[in-house]
């Protein structure tokens, strides 16, 4: 499984983001590397390198950064590793990218898949064909909030299907936790789920099960 390193000038920012992303990807090694040893703001090369080592479970590591010199520190840590296939720094929105990368890693994505997930977290969603569709009433209290959204994204990530969730006039790619959350669908709301691709029917069946179980709440 791919690991993540979150490189930030602020220890609190990196730790908070690791907590947020970790909630949606409980099995992924997500290592915060923020701030300097003395507690001030900055990026510490040794801390980033150590996090890079610890995040690597053997399949590789994706590093995300907040701004400016954090990218340089991350790039340098990867360069010093001497093996470009083991780690990569991704230019993605720090929060959205980390969450999307974590979910992709949890779903078993390889280095490229996790990088792509992080990058596309900042891109607008494309409009897709409706395909086969079903309406679902969300039975859990919080609706498509962080944890249920992550659960839904993970469920469809394993399948060869493009799943779209519509709520009101908004739509979201079900592979994107953030897009799902931004729908703002709460308990009792009705969402329309459609799917295309070879596994479309299986995708809808799994979404149905998930909704029926109240997202295991």
């Amino acid at each position: 499984m791919i690991g993540l390193v979150l490189v930030s000038h602020s220890a609190k920012l990196a730790e908070g983001l690791a907590e947020l992303a970790g909630q949606m990807a409980p099995d992924v090694r997500i290592l915060p590397a923020g701030g300097l040893l003395d507690g001030t703001l900055g990026t510490d090369f040794d801390a980033v390198s150590a996090a890079l080592d610890r995040a690597d479970a053997g399949d590789g590591v994706v590093l995300l950064y907040d701004l400016g010199s954090a990218k340089m520190t991350a790039d340098l840590a990867v360069e010093m590793l001497g093996d470009p296939s083991r780690a990569a720094v991704v230019d993605a929105p720090f929060v959205e990218g980390a969450v999307a990368a974590a979910v992709a890693a949890q779903g078993g994505g390889d280095l490229d898949a996790v990088l792509t997930a992080a990058v596309s977290a900042g891109a607008p969603d494309e409009v897709v064909d409706a395909g086969t569709g079903t309406d679902f009433v969300l039975t859990n209290d919080i609706g498509l909030h962080a944890r249920p959204a992550a659960l839904l994204a993970r469920t469809v990530a394993e399948l060869d299907a493009k799943v779209t969730v519509r709520f009101g006039d908004k739509q979201a790619d079900a592979a994107s936790v953030l897009a799902l959350m931004s729908l703002g669908a709460r308990g009792g709301d009705t969402v329309a789920v459609s799917a295309t691709g070879p596994d479309a029917a299986e995708a809808l069946r799994r979404v149905h099960d998930l909704v029926a179980r109240g997202f295991d709440e």
């Binding site: 900055g42 090369f45 040794d46 400016g68 010199s69 340089m72 340098l76």
Partner: protein
């Protein structure tokens, strides 16, 4: 100076003294357009370098590699990765050759510049250390037919001029770029420290 590892160590000791002597000046320059920590960060880095020089290695490249990893770990900010990369690339270029030559110094300086540009994505005119290092490499290349001392002197002279030329520039990279037009009228601290280091190396070599 000699051009072996011992000579390089001696040049680095003088560089550390120069950084110490100019700490306040660099802090002041950086306070004008940055976050004011460049002088202190660089001083901390070279103080750490001093403590590593006794057993740094027996080739110029090996010594510079120790300098690189020490600066990366201790300087912080953007200057740590940038100076670290510069020394790292120079060290890699020198490989295991036992003594510097005029042409290997030119190649090492060019490799350092290439590394800094790749790491920081800055171009000439962005008001960064690249504005000192770029003319330094060009001048060093012109002097490649002479001695190590002449190459370093040419590089130091050009870097000093390059640093002066950053005064009217509006910063396009680094913390100073957030100031926009207000960054004009101040010398870039990174260009200044680059010029100071090259001057220290040149003085040690002559």
């Amino acid at each position: 100076m000699s051009c072996d590892a011992a000579g390089v160590v001696a040049a680095l000791r003088s560089a550390a003294e120069v950084v110490e002597a100019h700490r306040d000046e660099l802090v002041t320059l950086d306070r004008e357009i940055g976050d004011g920590d460049h002088g202190e960060n660089l001083k901390r880095g070279f103080t750490a370098v001093l403590s590593k020089l006794d057993n740094a290695g027996d080739t110029p490249g090996a010594v510079l590699k120790v300098v690189a990893s020490t600066l990366i770990s201790t300087v912080g900010g953007a200057a740590g990765p940038l100076y670290g990369t510069a020394f790292l690339r120079a060290a890699a270029k020198l490989g295991t050759e036992p003594e510097l030559t005029a042409s290997s110094v030119v190649d090492a300086l060019a490799a350092a510049l290439e590394g800094v540009v790749a790491r920081g994505k800055a171009e000439v005119g962005d008001k960064t250390m690249v504005d000192a290092l770029t003319p330094a490499v060009a001048a060093a290349r012109d002097a490649a037919g002479s001695s190590v001392a002449e190459v370093l002197r040419a590089a130091a002279d050009a870097a000093g001029k390059g640093a002066e030329d950053t005064v009217p520039l509006v910063a396009r990279k680094g913390r100073a770029s957030y100031l926009g037009e207000r960054s004009a009228g101040h010398m870039d601290p990174g260009a200044r420290s680059t010029a100071l280091l090259l001057r220290a190396f040149a003085d040690a070599a002559s």
